[in-house]
Symmetry: D3
Subunit: 157 residues, 6 copies
Amino acid sequence: MALSHFDGKGDAHMVDVSEKAVTARLAVAEGFVRMAPETLALISSGEAKKGDVAGIARLAGIMGAKKTSDLIPLCHPLPITKVALEITPDEALPGLRIEATVKTSGQTGVEMEALTAVSTAALTVYDMVKAADKAMEITAIRLLLKDGGKSGRFEAQ
Amino acid sequence: MALSHFDGKGDAHMVDVSEKAVTARLAVAEGFVRMAPETLALISSGEAKKGDVAGIARLAGIMGAKKTSDLIPLCHPLPITKVALEITPDEALPGLRIEATVKTSGQTGVEMEALTAVSTAALTVYDMVKAADKAMEITAIRLLLKDGGKSGRFEAQ
Amino acid sequence: MALSHFDGKGDAHMVDVSEKAVTARLAVAEGFVRMAPETLALISSGEAKKGDVAGIARLAGIMGAKKTSDLIPLCHPLPITKVALEITPDEALPGLRIEATVKTSGQTGVEMEALTAVSTAALTVYDMVKAADKAMEITAIRLLLKDGGKSGRFEAQ
Amino acid sequence: MALSHFDGKGDAHMVDVSEKAVTARLAVAEGFVRMAPETLALISSGEAKKGDVAGIARLAGIMGAKKTSDLIPLCHPLPITKVALEITPDEALPGLRIEATVKTSGQTGVEMEALTAVSTAALTVYDMVKAADKAMEITAIRLLLKDGGKSGRFEAQ
Amino acid sequence: MALSHFDGKGDAHMVDVSEKAVTARLAVAEGFVRMAPETLALISSGEAKKGDVAGIARLAGIMGAKKTSDLIPLCHPLPITKVALEITPDEALPGLRIEATVKTSGQTGVEMEALTAVSTAALTVYDMVKAADKAMEITAIRLLLKDGGKSGRFEAQ
Amino acid sequence: MALSHFDGKGDAHMVDVSEKAVTARLAVAEGFVRMAPETLALISSGEAKKGDVAGIARLAGIMGAKKTSDLIPLCHPLPITKVALEITPDEALPGLRIEATVKTSGQTGVEMEALTAVSTAALTVYDMVKAADKAMEITAIRLLLKDGGKSGRFEAQ
């Protein structure tokens, strides 16, 4: 199998999607920030009364999704029509779970936008809490769902 | 313990570093892209003869580091003086290991720049290989080393 | 009434416009920079012989309109099809009046693009003249007209 | 008096600050968003239980300050060391008052950064509330205080 | 003949393309970096065993094409559907020849995107090799081919 | 001779300038846009009465200089302290001559900023005049002068 981002000589290019149909596209991605239990407690209490870590990370994720084609060299620019993030505490990890949903109607999918939204939100959580816990880990970022376009539906197992 | 990115009322702000000394700062971060063994084989053979996935991801990571303060809402803009990435196959994972080293002389550290470089490189790997393997996972992104500045040296365990 | 940028839980998101029709959209906004009469005289004479404050502000406004979705967190990226600014002296104020007209054919309106064009042009005027007059005021920025889309025509009174 | 952004021929340039000393610089700016009383009530209740308009606008203002030299053609890029915004309801207006404080140690002042922070926050308020009230006005944006540098202290009257 | 980027008063604006049809657009541009023969030898050997100047310049050109409307004040933002660059040694020059092909389906052409891709790639070559040869020249950047849209096909002679 | 942008393995990196002294740096670059004599006449008359091609290109060049480290992958971000462009008709070419001067006090030179300013201004001229003349050529972009830093003064011959 060949990688579509390289031509016959092995040179990277932005894949030609001119002939692809404009269809409704959807992608959902998730990721986690693992942290010490006290750090999670600090964030949770913070959200209640001292500062909204999850709210800021959610906004950063939305803005990050809009920068995807600027960050990822071979990504096509796309007019995103929806971005939403959900950030929820995960006591078992312990840490935060981040889920991003992105939609567009365009000629390519929005997997990279959803993954970039999750990554940017996770980095933002790290930034805001790093004074308390430098050993946090951003982990298990993956695509959960992709729909629309010729290659069809993908669901993570 | 309070989170430094929030003031007494819980409002987020960009922390005042005006009074901090300009010192040499170093940060090293790592992360992984886990994939199917055949995907890793495809990349490795690709690097030899058909297209340089790691080379493009390395470049994306360097450029990503320069966008850190644009991506992370409360990050200070910093004149980075060095960025280097190393991307190596990890047969045991299987997948790729990404390591980023960032330096500056400034008033705040470059942890976020190193973590953003790793994240951007990992997303770029995903983008270039996703036609072959949508189930890849970006994982275990963490700070390995931080040096310089008042809070002193941090080494991951 | 609920604010559309927040979901049921109060979390901010980029509103889903996937199902909205692609229609012709138009917005016109205005704003003012109030200044000392001598400052206005300086600009007006400058335009004639020493430097084109209004011309530079007009260009900054056009470029600012293109950055709207990068500046405003929950704004959708839009392929703008026209931007024009008019900057005229207003002796009564005294100061400059700025008017921006923006068009697109898209799934959401261009009010924010028109308002951002006016704001950026006004800030640019301030920047170029601030050595002479730091007490200038950017004022009365508002939407004059919006047309196209389901919510229909709006005209300021 | 000549405008410093134009040379002898009237051509615009970025003023040479190479010889200026690196000193601590501070600027404070303010601005307002005037709205219908019901709109202000909607935001205030929203902040309490349904969505944080002021929090998002504050963050947009901080990020906007970092984009100043990208937005304003002749502005020098500056390593900002602090940005903070305060957004408070003003029942008399009625509307919101926005105040931004910016610091750096550099060769030019941060007036434009403070004014850009206020403008961006105001535009963000408009964006989030425009579905309820298109007649809002962004008004009275001005510099309150500037300190540091050769031209000395400026205080608005 | 009038220049379309200026209105009747001579003020610059972004031309209104709202009424133009969305059609398939193609542009091809070329340019050269002239250098000392030893510099070309250094690059060519480098590509084989010590570093891939052409590969990095090609990637920079692709990313540069995506920034066109951000760089060129009156350019419309466009959803590019394909970018590819070819960089080949030209022993006769001596130096490198750069060719960029850009496609979109939109309301305006992609000439500027193709020319910006070539320029950015040429600047990147200069940057990577300047320690060895500061006298290099970026030269003969021109449009080779433009197709699609009302003004029809253009081919350089 | 080795290329400094590649490490021992041939991998590209952003060169470490942490140990270099902060000194005053200056660079001057030039370039040309060759066009049909009637095109030059159109621009020249335009400048007098119908629109300021050179003024807009000059501004685009200044803003382009500020984007250098965003465009050129391995360029260090630098706090530019001065940018000026001169654009003059060259009847013999025929066409326009563009000269850019950039200053900073930093740890690396500003050659790339000066060359990027010239390139961006040249592209902007092409954009504004392309409706009249698609056969224009951007040519002979080179470094004229570089001063400051360890590698010393360079003057083009």
